[in-house]
Symmetry: D2
Subunit: 254 residues, 4 copies
């Protein structure tokens, strides 16, 4: 087991994402689990009162959704779409701001891999420190460069990047700085909860030399597949944010 | 420009994904474009009648959605979600079946990168040959192993994989073969258009030693952001398929 | 004020649907309201601690959603669609089963008016008695005929009706009895939470001489319109039930 | 058969809404139908080449959706919701503007019945004349009062109404005139395709003495129930308009 994190699964309401160490004792609400030597994914464990847990590989969803949160975080439905639409993959160099709780940082770091790089920026110190802890804890900090500053004021000052992921309250203040470091022909994506943020961002992008703007929202609906009783779940999250995509092109700013 | 593909953008209805070669002439419906030496992403070109085109980086969406199709293909909204939920990233080894038109193959190949591997299986020869062409054309075949056989009958016979992506009409026939090659604790995902397919797949998964089943559908809704006239687009694709996720665990098959 | 009910509105979290009587004292969590003589809709009242309440006309939504519930009830989004799709209006004679908490009964009674008729059937006594109380309380019982019996066993035994509204766990058991009392060329509608219920109902309807079957679900999404912060609400009800519509035609049952 | 309209149904792609007259010949694309004496709903007819048609009761959906259109029209999903949320029913007196093609007029006229009244206003002559024809053709004009004028300029000058249905491009221009004729405590509803229209309408409503504002959108998704192949339809209408509801209360206008 190269990864240090495991997801302990004892049923829908008994899930624990923990760092694996042999001999470690985990207090669950189904009893105490003691982690054995040479634990492997897929194994079944028992608590001291005989309840079963399975050891699961923690997917990117688990690693990102279960960070210690100091901010709202991005959802897999949105992050996954952003990954495909920006065209990033193994080896990509990407820009992220703000770091927030590091949930998207973890997703991006998984995608770009050890040959890639995530440059992430956060201006608020309390968020910055928590995010670093979260990314280190996920074992992904080798490919992440953390910057504690406000790029709207100070700029980015990094190498050209393959894509820019913007999750701040005022994305329009970052359009010009991002234009400076995003490779020509490549993609900006920002996530904003409100229509007015989207409108201001669109205006700023069009003025700055971005084209082919697109705005979408992604909805996730769960289906309950139970023998004889199949139906959609009764409640869902109906809004996280609007995603704005834009392509940077070279323009005469004469 | 290391990638050989470019997306030529002359407006919403004038988009062309082409292989770049200096001197190549592209017939668009806005006139003829002649590709110059040393073309770079982000540049502006003009057709012989003076219409503008921009040279854009072809994102994973463009590479996958614009393949030559012999089958229905997966959508970015679904593929992106599958990537995050399975936890794959740079370096992952993944199984895909069926290859279809190679759209998902291209997405997976981008994500796993040159250090990863996509084992893809297709039983129908006409699909197989077209898919290979599409993946080669996208420049991603170095990390893809194409298998022309029916795994439901013959099994997979590959190294253990980090995730399995199943897009066939009868996913339940692949549950046992996938169980053999999927690493314990890792994730199965299948895409099926109908409820009955999902129901049969769930039954088979539960019987075979998969747990923590989840079924979702992902919806994408476009917003039109126009000054003074912001609104959702009037029509949308309301169904592609249901996504079924399940975790393989070790069971006594005594 | 001919209607005896009023909706007292003191803000989003201070809404009270009450029967109006002069001098009545209402304990709200914003203080005590004393209802004056000759109260009219639209007036402003004050509690003993000076908090404002407005007297609103209780719409069909309020009357139906605020009944005393012994069952799940139908939502306005579904009921409204059913009204338009069945073609009922002032003067229609309609069949409803089961009565449940009487929420749909109240809606139908409002639509058909004093010249119309709602024949409603409920087999469980505790539901039956509560529903009658709710409909009487809404002042709509003059046009409602309550039947305490199980029509799947005993049939309906009423005059021919213009539409049939079916909200029971096993709609397929009512297809034959409804065929007997529904006017030819008119519409059946049933509401069912699960796919399997819908499937069985469709089969039974097709066998019994119903045609032009349609199944839809209706989703309601709230938008928050706040200056500078417009966005969809973050959570929503994602499923109440599927609506099945079918037209009865004359068939040879030789 | 008291109603003169019938819906002839010869399959999904062979539907005809016609005025019934004995002996009338209908050219369908499945052959010629000759309407017999004493035709009744539910009967089966045959074309001259032996194709079957059924005679169906034309529901409010059919009557409203199949009007001759000179404008976009309201959808049943929206209209049904508006009916329940405004609380109208048999006997209600309602205001509508603009009349458009008369689709909503037909819906409202069905709901309020012969004891009710629909006051409808349209300023554009070509729409006005077509709408009258459509409502007359549906046999519902006895309860409709058509006004050819612009209420934003000239006011409404009618008796107090139980609800106001506003479907014009600039609803905010009607807020003051509607306040004059809407009964206190009763409901305004407007339908607008864009966010900006909704925002301006909300502002105007709040200023004019309306409270308890709510904005929703209603989505309709069709399910295809086919043995072994149940799934949602692949495409849907994803936007018609936002519905804004507000309650008029008495205010001091100093």
């Amino acid at each position: 087991m190269t990864k240090k994190k495991i997801l302990l699964y004892g049923g829908k309401k008994a899930e624990y994402l923990v760092n694996y160490e042999p001999g470690k004792r985990i207090q669950t609400h189904l009893g105490v689990l003691t982690l054995p030597e040479n634990l492997e994914y897929g194994e079944k464990l028992e608590t001291h009162i005989g309840k079963s847990f399975f050891v699961l590989f923690p997917t990117t969803r688990e690693l990102s959704m279960r960070v210690k949160r100091t901010t709202t975080i991005i959802y897999p439905k949105d992050a996954g779409y952003m990954v495909i639409e920006t065209g990033i993959g193994a080896g990509s160099k990407v820009l992220e701001t703000g770091t927030g709780s590091g949930a998207l940082t973890i997703i991006l770091a998984t995608i770009v891999g050890p040959e890639g790089k995530v440059y992430t920026f956060e201006r608020r110190e309390e968020f910055f420190n928590n995010a670093i802890k979260n990314v280190v804890d996920a074992g992904l900090d080798d490919r992440v460069e953390f910057h504690h500053k406000d790029p709207a004021e100070e700029g980015f000052d990094i190498e050209p990047v393959d894509a820019a992921f913007i999750d701040v309250p005022e994305p329009w203040t970052l359009v010009e700085p991002v234009y400076e470091v995003l490779k020509p022909g490549h993609v900006w994506v920002s996530l904003s909860p409100t229509i007015e943020q989207v409108q201001k961002t669109h205006e700023a992008l069009k003025e700055a030399g971005f084209i082919r703007l697109k705005c979408v929202e992604i909805l996730e609906r769960e289906m309950l597949i139970r023998p004889g009783k199949t139906r959609p779940k009764e409640r869902m999250i109906s809004h996280t944010g609007y995603l704005t995509f834009a392509w940077k092109v070279k323009i005469d700013k004469g």
